[in-house]
């Protein structure tokens, strides 16, 4: 009843092929954007902006990158945190060594460095697939972190290998309050998400999906596997690199190579599995789930039973509940939260009829 496209006629191919062809979708999305761009910075306090929203956005971007590689192009990768590290350290070095480097350009250059490294480590994908490729990207994870620790040049010869991100100044305006950092992150993520959505709808995306589904058949019909796979690695690593640079500049402020360890790579992989592989919305939902649920559990569980639980027990219980919820969601919907959203929309189309 509410979600019908009756009466909505398209008069051009452009209108027919837009991302949100149904008007209700467009209105809804505009409301969501207005909420996050206008309402949230005005109403949210520092805790929500700094500790909740910014990390969710940054990890959404990294999950988006991994989703492009694993979800759309079918190349399993366990090196996403390492590409984030490359982006962070590259952006830092560009800002440090090039006088007058604008921040956004440093962000892009950091992403491009990560893309170059991603292409280099993606070369094995031309010969090996699936699990074995995951091991090759695992090598990327360990090698990159080792290299960043071993060569002091990357961290400007600091005694401990920790880099301290410079202040973010764009066109003379300093982004030092949580609200401004949040808006900067949100803008970057929104632009890159739009780019990703359009990329996967384009011939590039279709080439990726063909390679994912059956790469031999894709080669037979004329899709160049080298081009498709390496472009997937490049774009994915670019996204992870930008996410890593934002992680250093707008979120933590200081990063060390160990902070981009294998645990983080796995976390990003879990985000796309829970959120939904092969879906742009899935990256956002998965990131929100993996980042926010432990914090929610840490707020709720210690206060259960009137605080009678010992802290060790409640901390361990949080991990148990978190793992249990992951298993629950994957049993209920193996295709992830994005599929649940999709099913919801399909049911809303028929509402109030059951079928």
């Amino acid at each position: 009843m509410l979600y019908r496209e009756a009466g909505q006629f398209k008069a051009s191919y452009q209108a027919d092929q837009q991302i949100f062809p149904i008007r209700q979708d467009r209105v809804g999305f505009a409301l969501v954007l207005a909420f996050f761009f206008l309402l949230v910075p005005a109403l949210a306090n520092q805790y929500w902006l700094q500790a909740i929203l910014i990390p969710v956005l940054i990890f959404s971007l990294a999950a988006l990158g991994l989703n492009i590689l694993t979800g759309y192009a079918g190349q399993l990768s366990l090196g996403s945190a390492a590409f984030m590290a490359v982006g962070a350290f590259a952006a830092y070095n560009f800002m440090l060594r090039v006088p007058g480097m604008p921040f956004l350009l440093a962000l892009v250059l950091g992403g491009l460095c990560a893309a170059a490294v991603g292409v280099a480590f993606g070369l094995p994908s031309l010969r090996i697939k699936g699990f074995y490729l995951a091991v090759a990207t695992l090598a990327a994870q360990f090698f990159i972190i080792w290299a960043l620790t071993k060569f002091p040049w990357f961290s400007n010869h600091s005694a401990s290998g920790v880099i301290s991100a410079q202040a973010v100044v764009i066109l003379g305006y300093a982004f030092d309050t949580p609200a401004s950092k949040y808006l900067l992150t949100l803008t970057v993520v929104a632009v890159l998400a739009l780019l990703a959505k359009n990329m996967v709808r384009s011939s590039t995306g279709r080439a990726w999906m063909a390679v994912r589904d059956m790469d031999v058949a894709a080669e037979v019909i004329g899709i160049r596997p080298l081009h498709a796979k390496l472009s997937a690695f490049a774009v994915s690593s670019f996204y992870c690199g930008v996410a890593g640079a934002l992680y250093a500049y707008t979120y933590l402020g200081t990063v060390e190579p160990e902070g981009f360890n294998l645990d983080l790579s796995f976390k990003i992989l879990f985000m796309i599995i829970i959120g939904g592989v092969g879906s742009i919305l899935g990256a956002f939902l998965g990131a929100a789930f993996i980042v926010l649920l432990p914090i929610f559990l840490d707020n709720v569980i210690p206060k259960l039973f009137g605080g009678l639980l010992s802290s060790s027990f409640s901390s361990n219980l949080q991990l148990v509940v978190f793992g249990g919820l992951i298993i629950f969601f994957l049993i209920v919907e193996p295709h992830g939260l994005a599929r649940l959203w999709q099913i919801g929309k399909e049911k809303l189309r028929l509402w109030p009829f059951p079928h």
């Binding site: 700094q50 500790a51 290998g161 402020g253 200081t254 645990d263 840490d298 802290s311 060790s312 901390s315």
Partner: protein, 444 residues
């Protein structure tokens, strides 16, 4: 009509009673301390021991003394899982709790320390990093809000060099000797290198640096190399599973364990017990005393555990290395608040800024420690505006197969050497960030 009059008379009394009841909790204000603890993961033993000891000491102060001059301590734990992002979230969450906000932040993780380093100055919450964190924060002129108290990593390295010097018959005898620096390949592990390299040049010993990749449960290659090098001493600068693995690998390659000197994050029961017999004779540094014989710990047993309010689920951990370190955390926090109350007024909860003053003017001399019942548990400490370290001392202990036995008394680091490096490093940070140094002579 009469009933209404009676009700009307009763109403103001009821309002007065309600007002009193609402006002009463406001009178009993508490000093809030946020605890960014970690009780899960590979380092859970350290986290549960230290935060448990700290909570026990605060419970002791509340139970035995009724708080600090009548102001009871309250706290809330926030699980960081030893993860930087969670640490930042915990910092933000704990920031505003309590009547005066969070008054100190002690994350027990170098990673989290770096992540919130710049925020603590803006939010006016003193960060205390006892035996970890950013070593050059000992220069209080550059880092007014960070206190790496008792000893920093460079003091530990210097103390180790002195200890080894004592063992070979004097620092001059170090010339020509060979020391291997076996370190965890991370920011933490590399912290000791600048001072070790400087000491190697100064005393003429050969320093061989051998990294162990995280997490360190594979050390065959490193110990083979050590067997070839045949060093006089091995400094073990490890964390977590790297420590018992090193001891087992040393036993297999035949290197005597009493020539291995570990750091204070390599010298706990959780590092030696898993290694079994291989750990016997192993020496490690410590910045807190070991054992349950200290009067303050007896007090904790009497007033806290006897009333079933103890935090440690395994009561045999009372008196262990990490537990005692937790008690030291508690003592330093409580005494800093007490010091601050002397200036800002006793009997009310203080703000983070006031507690920072307390930390900066903390002076624990031998008499004070004796009154606390903590002689030998921590060294005499005097923090000042320029020196946020306060002591620069380290003790050494030896594992006899079932417990840690104290080997030496407090050994002071070469403070001029350490301070020189600290000022150099802090100075370059100040230049990079455009910070003007505080003028300590102008401040009280």
């Amino acid at each position: 009509m009469e009933k209404m009059h009676r009700a009307r008379r009763g109403a103001p009394l009821a309002a007065l009673a309600a007002g009193l009841l609402i006002a009463l909790p406001a009178l009993a204000q508490e000093q809030f301390i946020g605890l960014p603890s970690y009780r899960v993961g590979p380092y859970a033993a350290g986290g549960s021991g230290i935060y448990g000891g700290w909570i026990d000491y605060m419970t002791l102060i509340n139970e035995r003394d009724g708080g600090i001059n009548g102001v009871k301590l309250s706290w809330e734990e926030c699980e960081t899982e030893y993860n930087n992002a969670r640490g930042v979230e915990c910092y933000e969450r704990l920031k505003g709790k309590g009547p005066t906000g969070n008054t100190t932040f002690q994350p027990l993780s170098t990673g989290i320390t770096y992540s919130v380093l710049e925020k603590v100055a803006q939010d006016k919450i003193p960060m205390v990093t006892i035996g970890y964190g950013r070593t050059d924060a000992a220069d209080g002129r550059v880092f007014p809000w960070v206190f790496p108290m008792i000893s920093t990593y460079w003091s530990q390295a210097s103390g180790m060099v002195k200890f080894i010097g004592d063992k070979v018959g004097g620092l001059e005898q170090l010339k020509g000797k060979k020391i291997v620096y076996l370190y965890h390949d991370s920011a933490f592990g590399k912290e000791g290198i600048p001072l070790m390299e400087q000491s190697a040049q100064k005393y003429g010993f050969v320093l061989k640096q051998i990294p162990v990749a995280h997490p360190g449960n594979e050390q065959q290659a490193q110990w083979l190399q050590i067997r070839q090098e045949k060093p006089d001493y091995v400094i073990l600068w490890g964390w977590g599973v790297m420590n018992p693995t090193a001891l087992r690998a040393a036993a297999r390659s035949g290197y005597p364990r009493d020539r291995i000197v570990g750091g204070w994050w390599s010298g706990s029961e959780e590092d030696t017990i898993p290694a079994g017999d291989a750990a016997k004779g192993y020496i490690s540094a410590n910045l807190s005393g070991v054992g349950a014989d200290f009067p303050v710990i007896q007090e904790v047993q009497k007033h806290v555990y006897a009333r079933n309010k103890g935090n440690m689920e395994d009561k045999s951990r009372v008196g262990s290395v990490y537990y005692n370190r937790g008690i030291v955390h508690g003592i330093l926090t409580v005494e800093a608040i007490r010091t601050a109350q002397q200036k800002y007024g006793a009997g009310k909860p203080l703000t983070g800024e006031q507690v920072r003053w307390g930390f900066e003017h903390l002076n624990l001399d031998a008499d004070h420690l004796a009154k606390l019942g903590a002689t030998g548990l921590l060294p005499e400490l005097k923090v000042s505006c320029a020196d946020h370290e306060g002591a620069g001392k380290v003790k050494f202990q030896q594992w006899d197969g079932s417990k840690w036995l104290p080997l030496t008394d407090w050994i002071e680091a070469d403070r001029s050497q350490v301070r020189g490096l600290i000022e150099l490093s802090a100075g370059s940070y100040a230049r990079e960030k455009g910070i003007t140094l505080r003028d300590c002579s102008k401040e009280m």
